[in-house]
Amino acid sequence: MLNVDTIKNGLVIDHICAGYGPKIFQWLGLDKAKFSSALIMNVSSKKSGRKDIIKIDNIINIDYSVLGFIDTNITVNIIKDEKIINKIKMQLPDKVENVVKCKNPRCITTTEHYVPQVFRLVDKNEALYRCEYCDSLYKAGKIIELMERVHNE
């Protein structure tokens, strides 16, 4: 297996569905960050066959709801002094805002671009989200075309 240096203080986003890593990496703005980070793809996994991993050499604030929306299998390990001090398991958020865009061409959000793209969880078992405006249904985890995130930091 490919070796990437261990991190002293930072985050490891593990169990990312294989292929989703680059999108999450980009969405977190790690490609433009001043600290080191690593995207490791197609790592063999007992659980899922293949997975992606992101290692971040900094403890940054992450919107866990977004990761939960993408894939509830994702775990985030918080590393301090090279030890895992917390392991966070993702859950489906009740609401996501400006993470994905509604694809229904008849939805008002396709022409009124200032409108926030809000999706609410309507079926936890099926992981179904409903567009607040046009009621189109989307299955969480199946949408990986994430919106471009505005970075204020």
């Binding site: 008002i108 396709t110 607040e132 405006y133 009621d135």
Partner: protein, 307 residues
């Protein structure tokens, strides 16, 4: 309390609020002159971003009969959106002039968006194929007036049940009342969507049946709700030819129906109801149009706090 509220989708109204609106509409029907001044000095903005002569004129007639005034436009070419103005800004401006807005827009969710920026109540007069709550109120008032209430009916929905938003809303509305049963009459391609069955009928344990031909169900019905079946909705011409006559109501089929069945249609009708049926006392679709105006009068009066 309905004053100041928006009406975006039929479920925005509780069963009690629907009763309240229908009761007021019934008072207006009995004595319209007593209500001719209740909205005097108030303005309805009829914002029709796509043409719908029938619905627009129904709203306008409703406001005029309440003594109010009307402003607005009949298609988007005469609105500022052609200059690139956002819908939010258009609504902020117009709601500064008007006391209530009735808006039709081809985009789904447009009415909800408008309600988020409006300073006055917004009534959704149709947002694409999404919601048209005053059509549902129209259907409900017609049923209450002509069939004696919202309960204990066998309701046949005939035609395009897949894309017809009016039938989806009416099924949802009638599912809130006890002991209604549904028979869905449509070609296989145009059957009632799964989400209506799964999210509305099954949780409420409402009995329903699916049939392909109107002749197989018409004798059981208390209410027959007709919709238009368009040729282009069929996957192949053979099925269209085989089934097209099953979705046309004529006197021959009316002979099989109960004496007190009522026939509803959201209109416009094309050829799914033969003109010969119009003279049958059970044909209620033109009376339905008038109930639509009365229910809009009641709604406007309630939302503007005029009564």
């Amino acid at each position: 309390m309905l004053t100041g509220r928006h009406l975006i989708e039929p479920n925005d109204l509780s069963v009690n609020e629907i009763n309240e609106i229908c009761s007021l509409a019934e008072q207006i029907i009995v004595d319209p002159l007593s209500f001719q001044d209740v909205c005097r000095g108030k303005i309805l903005a009829a914002l029709f971003f796509e043409p719908s002569t029938r619905t627009r004129l129904s709203f306008e007639a409703a406001m005029l009969r309440l003594g109010g005034s009307v402003e607005g436009f009949a298609d988007s070419s005469s609105s500022s959106t052609t200059k690139g103005e956002t819908l939010a800004d258009t609504i902020r401006v117009i709601s500064s002039y008007a006391d209530i807005i009735a808006m039709r827009n081809p985009k789904e969710g447009a009415a909800l968006l408008a309600s988020q920026y409006s300073y006055c109540p917004v009534i959704n007069a149709g947002d694409g194929g999404h919601f048209h709550p005053t059509q549902t109120l129209t259907d409900l008032l017609t049923i209450r007036q002509l069939s004696g209430g919202f309960e204990n009916h066998v309701v046949g929905m005939c035609g395009d049940l897949k894309f017809g938003r009016t039938v989806h809303s009416l099924v949802q509305a009638l599912s809130r009342y006890p002991n209604n049963k549904f028979i869905f009459i449509s070609p296989q391609e145009l059957q009632m969507p799964d989400y209506i069955v799964k999210n509305v009928l099954e949780p409420a344990k409402i009995s329903y049946r699916v049939v392909e031909r109107l002749e197989d169900a018409i004798s059981e019905l208390d209410i027959l709700y007709m919709t238009r079946v368009q040729k282009e909705r069929f996957f192949n011409e053979q099925d269209y030819i085989r089934l097209k006559d099953s979705y046309i109501l004529n006197n021959e089929k009316m002979k099989m129906a109960k004496k007190n069945m009522i026939v509803l249609h959201p209109l416009p009708r094309v050829n799914e109801i033969a003109p010969e049926v119009d003279n049958d006392p059970r044909a209620a679709y033109f009376r339905q149009v008038k109930y639509g105006m009365y229910v809009r009068m009641a709604l406007i009066a309630k939302l503007t706090g005029s009564l």
